[in-house]
Point group: C2
């Protein structure tokens, strides 16, 4: 499984505390989350300030770093502060630094991977990365996007997702992309744009999967405390795609049970929930597959009737 | 099952249309919804303008109207307008009329009913109604409240719900009543106030049931079109309590399976979803138990994994 996106340093303030600088970025969260199910290969760029201990953390999780380019300059830095109820956040700083000229190049060893997850970057770059893959071996390709690309790079975005098997976005983005407020109608429009599988993330309210003629809904896990929601959506994506890759599901071959995709959505939800329990990526330093499977069973217990 | 609350006329405007005056009120919605599971007995007051056709609709659903008092004056009138996405509404008119001096008196034939659902009225009135019931026969007593009573009649409200078995409120009310933003913590505080069973309604995001040491979460049904959300929460309450009463569940005797309460929450969700499909109470003119059970199965289909 290949993951493309940002590796960054983040400064985060929530009602539970403040960290000035810690490892972050969509690609980081996706890869750490997916690493509990498969061995992700990342494509990203960092500056010469990228710390050895952060490199070591990724390596310790079995993540393939052949595609982690190191260039002169500073690593992408983002800082933000969350509202008291953590449903809103304000961006304080966005220093793109070396990420401004990110031109992802896949190592040869990546090109035959069956799974490709394109994190939230410029749509033309997402398209260029897919074009580098050996398309005959692909089993499941898709990714994320955001309001900025939907509003200001719509034509490029539509060309890009037309080639995708799945799209994983949040509810406000789904409404913006489709022009429909009603999520059923939004999903029908989006799946007609290309991706036959759609996951709409709803933050604390869970997620909805559309696949084939049916949909599947899961509520959000109720945490005792949300320490830091940064990266939760990316961890969802990593858990979802990680499970798909770990199971070897072949969606282009059409031999996948809908129940397997539902389980992937639950694992995504599980990983998103763990992410919020500590600041930044800290929860993934100690998390075990046994804890993950335990929470999967909790989801069964609080949703079945 | 006895239901106490408002019977009213409503004026409603939504993005789908406008109705100047139609049957409404919490007691009306609760009773119509519950009538698909049991024979509710209502306690309410109307003015001499209350139309025969509205009386006939309630009677046609088998609702016991012995406690529907008719007094000189006008029936409670409420009017409001919904926002484009229907997540907000603005009240335009609240004419309490005969409801201002509502002093609920239970007919003798009501006092031995095992189930009591206290709609959203002044807490001291809710308490006075419960005091009129033959307490030895009660199996499940509870109700609803709202932000106004929580903020301005808190002491009365706490005395009232201390005697209840269940409380059924929305998420913002749960946060306000408990002083906790986190719903797990809010639920723990509220269940320590008296009600051992708590249902938190989350509008389009579904509902959460707390009972015993566990909780149960259900997502909201995705409608193709929401015509008019007025009364959806009351229909939830009516479906929930109607199912409990129809099954004869004895929660004070302590012989109830948690799975039965989960089914009650699903039936509540089903009835709330049907309510939104037409203006006012119109959906209940044609709804059948077969459609209700069909949607119950849909909930199973889109939530199981």
């Amino acid at each position: 499984m290949v993951v493309v996106g940002s590796v960054a340093y983040d400064g985060v303030e929530t009602p539970h505390g403040k960290v000035d600088r810690m490892l972050g970025g969509a690609c980081t969260y996706i890869a750490l989350s997916a690493s509990f199910f498969t061995q992700p290969k990342i494509v990203a760029v960092v500056g010469d300030d990228f710390a050895q201990e952060d490199y070591d953390l990724l390596a310790s999780r079995g993540i393939d770093l052949a595609g982690l380019e190191r260039v002169p300059g500073k690593t992408f830095f983002w800082a933000g502060v969350y509202s008291q109820d953590m449903n809103d956040r304000e961006t304080l700083t966005t220093d793109l630094n070396v990420f401004a000229t990110f031109d992802p190049k896949l190592p040869e060893s990546y090109k035959t991977a069956p799974y490709l997850l394109l994190g939230n970057i410029q749509p033309t770059l997402q398209k260029a990365v897919k074009a580098q893959m050996n398309s005959s071996g692909l089993r499941f390709v898709g990714g994320d996007t955001m309001n900025y690309w939907i509003a200001d790079h719509r034509a490029d975005l539509l060309k890009t997702i037309a080639e995708w098997d799945f799209l994983l976005i949040n509810d406000s983005e789904a409404r913006m992309l489709s022009g429909e407020n009603n999520l059923r109608k939004a999903a029908a429009k989006i799946t007609s744009m290309g991706p036959s599988t759609l996951v709409i993330k709803r933050g604390e309210h869970g997620a909805i999967l559309w696949h084939g003629d049916t949909h599947f809904m899961v509520p959000g896990y109720l945490l005792d405390d949300v320490f830091d929601p940064t990266g939760a959506g990316d961890c969802f994506a990593g858990g979802f795609m990680g499970y798909v890759a770990g199971q070897g599901l072949d969606l282009r071959g059409g031999k996948v049970e809908a129940s397997e995709l539902r389980r992937a959505v639950i694992y995504g939800s599980v990983m998103g929930s763990f992410c919020c329990e500590r600041f930044g990526v800290d929860r993934f330093r100690t998390l075990t597959r046994r804890e993950i499977d335990g929470r999967f069973e909790e989801f069964k217990a609080f949703t079945s009737f």
